[in-house]
Amino acid sequence: MDQSLIRNFCIVAHIDHGKSTLADRILEITGAIRGEAKEQMLDSMDLERERGITIKMTAVRLSYRASDGKEYEFNLIDTPGHVDFTYEVSRSLAACEGALLVVDATQGVEAQTIANASMAMTQGLEIVPVINKIDLPHADVARAKEEIESALAIDASDAILVSAKTGEGVPELLEAIVKLIPPPSLPKRGVFEEGTLPDRDNPLRALIFDSHFDPYRGVVAYVRVVDGHIRKGQVIQMMSTGSTFDVDSIGYFAPEPMPLDELSTGEVGFFTAGMKEIGDAGVGDTVTSAENPATEPLMGYRKAKPMVFCGLYPTNGDQYQELRDAIERLQLNDAALTFEPETSDALGFGFRCGFLGLLHMDIARERLEREFGLELILTSPSVNYVIFKTDGTMEQIANPSRFPPPQQIAHIEEPAVKATIMVPQEYVGTVMNLCKTRRGIFGKMEYPSPTRVILYYTLPLSEILLDFYDKLKSQTRGYASFDYDFSDYIRADLVKVDVMLNGDKVDALSFIVHKDEAYVRGRAIAEQLRKVVPRQQYEVRIQAAIGAKVIAAETIKPFRKDVTAKCYGGDITRKRKLLEKQKEGKRRMKNIGAIEVPQEAFLSVLKVAE
């Protein structure tokens, strides 16, 4: 393929600004799918469809005959839209030369627009501003343009105006893609190293920007060929591990998989090579030829760094090995997931897993349960704390129950994030108050338009893990948008609070909290546990304590009886369904000593952020 006829691009947008709809429309107009195809073609996983967000990106190849009469090859790479998946966005960006920056004409620039656009610019991508939803009566194109210019410093005077819903403006957009986005024949600024120009005859270097596990074909790796070419039957080598594989199939998605004999310089597609093990196709790795290997791997990838940690335990201890296999499988599809074995007195054998954020954690849990049929208990999420001990040593701890005793701790540091919050002016006070209660440090304030404000804050990550985003949304009637990026470790006065049931410490319920908040949080958790732990045959005492000092206590009165209701012919089905449901609930409980504790108890910390 002539590289000058290839355009590799992605779409970046704030959530709900119409990215998926625009992708559908582009697919439809270029003939890749017909109108009756299911909506939001790129969101392929059931889960994605249910949650209405894109979790895994997919690359789709389209063929487009432009007004210059030439046939172009478009590779549209879909990117995730949620704040947790910033890393995945960065991987897909690196496979592109350009990005369509979609802004909703009725909403204007939002926090994720800023975050994603900045990242695309850092990666050296050509940005094509697109203003969407112009068919809506309250669309305000002028304001959207003004915000793009003032908040992002991007010239919006030639922004393409479209309605992804009606298709208006999309043909013009396709022409703009041809004209504005550069072909892959030149190295991008700052992404791949300077030097020789990419060429079909250079040693192969292809970037793995995504992969998924297919039960029949093994690992399917999505690649962008940067140099050389990859052929069916070729022996390839992964540059990070040195392992070699025989390529058994090559192709692209249109959106159905289409076989090919080779992918050449500048092209995007997939290959399979009998890869079955984790790490065989590490995302971010460079694929080269085993016979004629490249000397230097590609650069420009940022390694995913888990920010949120929690314990994952099988409800039934026999499923430990199954859980390990399932997490390993999941990791193939999810390069950002980390795990290591841990044990808990209360929960037995399990894993401490690292995630990009809470949504990522929730999706992983749901996939483990849904796709692998596991029943899991999650402990409350924690961040990674750095503990400086009195003996001069330092330790990183992401599991609160592993905290050393207070007398051994000199001081503690916790991760902080730089938060960008975009909000209508009338809510500035509300948002500042919320940030203050979450130990936020004010940075600066900007006015991209007369009525909208961007607030910059430094916040402890642990404080936004709880319900910060929900609170932000509810207190601003949904108008605030929020994005964050990890900044640094900051020193904080933190203590560990233990939770005890009938005097026995339940390690999986321990949590770390700022000293000033310990009493409030301890009381709230004891109360929450009283609500979620069902009454037992015996009285249950719940206590929260710092060291030996009890700071909160609650009691669950014993359960003395079931109702001895009548049960005749017409009552049997309903009664059975009720008891079956109870049985299902019981299966998900964990026995701690003689006490049955439901799964949700271990997430109590989440529920009591106030």
Partner: protein
């Protein structure tokens, strides 16, 4: 053909009680006649025609809210479709406020041989609170009338844990019920069902119900008093003089088949359990148009049947056969450790303590 239990549902009541979530309607006039006609038609064209009746049970609603002739015609139709086996138990529920000596006499004549009287309480304030149409004095009169009409198998229903009820009051209720000298007692704990006026009051905190502990004591009082008076407890809420257990209800608890007629009635034959459309008007329309009467239907697979066998069998004092019910071994062990279940030979059954945790015991072993 195997004899089968037959249930007939009459959905009408003089008024709806605050705690009741049965399929019952306070309706009057033409609809009652129309419904009786429809029920007669349904019975006449039953696919189970000719299958003998092991037992017949008229429940409601309030069967005795129907006129004597209607009750007689319905029973006649049932007996035509299902010839009663010798000694067949033929029960009707009766509300003391809706039945007099004459009606009992005609019911006896029609072939009913067992009466179940919904007494609920001997205190007028309870009856008013519950929304019952009868008053305390009518209970004794109803039992005497039934007895005079020749009924020698009579049940009395009582409820405990009523709003504001004291242990003393419950004790007095028990004594007065026992003094009636009936053959059978059903002693139920008031259950707050969703979609009832009581449920709304309960949510608002307006129902002054006895504590759990109080309820446990009331139940124990009931078991002791009944036993002293010569009743055997044979089910978690049911007590009978020797040989006077309710054969019809035992069919339910033993997971047997039952044929059913009338709006909202539930039938189980083979592996299918289904519910008749509930509203009398809809029921009539469907019968008149000769259309399918089912509004809900389920197929009972072996897993479901096993669950039900345990759930129902544990209600019985004789318990359930372990070989047949196949309880979860680990759960059974736990239930035994908790003192909820004992085993005797091939049978497992609830202990006195276990009767208070009946649901949880089922959840453990099923």
């Amino acid at each position: 053909m195997d004899p089968v239990a037959v249930y007939v549902h009459t959905p009408f009541c003089p008024s709806k009680c605050g705690y009741c979530d049965f399929n019952s309607y306070a309706m009057e006039g033409e609809i009652i006649k129309r419904t009786v006609h429809a029920m007669l038609a349904e019975i006449d064209r039953t696919p189970h025609f000719g299958r003998p009746a092991k037992t017949i049970f008229f429940g409601g609603g309030t069967p005795t809210f129907l006129e004597s002739q209607d009750l007689a015609r319905l029973l006649e139709a049932v007996m035509r479709a299902h010839p009663p086996t010798p000694g067949c138990e033929i029960t009707s529920e009766a509300n003391p406020g809706t039945v007099d000596a004459e009606k009992f006499a005609s019911m006896r004549e029609a072939g009913f041989n067992r009466i179940s009287i919904g007494a609920q309480s001997f205190f007028d304030e309870d009856l008013i609170r519950l929304g019952r149409v009868h008053r305390s004095g009518e209970i004794e009169r109803a039992v005497a009338n039934a007895s005079n009409a020749g009924f020698d198998n009579i049940n009395v229903d009582l409820m405990f844990a009523l709003p504001g009820q004291s242990k003393k009051a419950w004790c007095e209720n028990l004594q007065r019920a026992i003094a009636l000298g009936t053959e059978h007692l059903s002693l139920y704990c008031l259950t707050i069902e969703e979609n009832t006026p009581f449920y709304k009051e309960f949510l608002k905190g307006l129902l002054d119900l006895p504590s759990d502990f109080g309820q446990v004591e009331m139940y124990e009082q009931a078991c002791e008093a009944a036993e002293e008076a010569g009743f055997n407890q044979y089910e978690i809420s049911n007590f009978a003089k020797p040989g006077k257990e309710c054969v019809h209800n035992l069919c339910y608890w033993n997971c047997e088949e039952y044929v059913a007629y009338g709006p909202g009635a539930v039938e189980r034959v083979g592996n299918r359990r289904w519910t008749h459309v509930k509203h009398p008007r809809l029921y009539c329309e469907r019968v008149e148009a000769n259309e399918d009467l089912a509004c809900e239907s389920e197929t009972l697979d072996s897993k479901t049947l096993r669950f039900e066998r345990i759930m129902l069998g544990l209600r019985l004092n004789e318990g359930v056969d372990i070989q047949v019910a196949k309880p979860d071994a680990q759960g059974l062990q736990q239930a035994i450790e908790r003192g909820w279940i004992t085993t005797e030979g091939d049978r497992m059954k609830l202990t006195a303590l276990g009767k208070h945790y009946c649901n949880q015991a089922v959840v453990l072993v099923a």
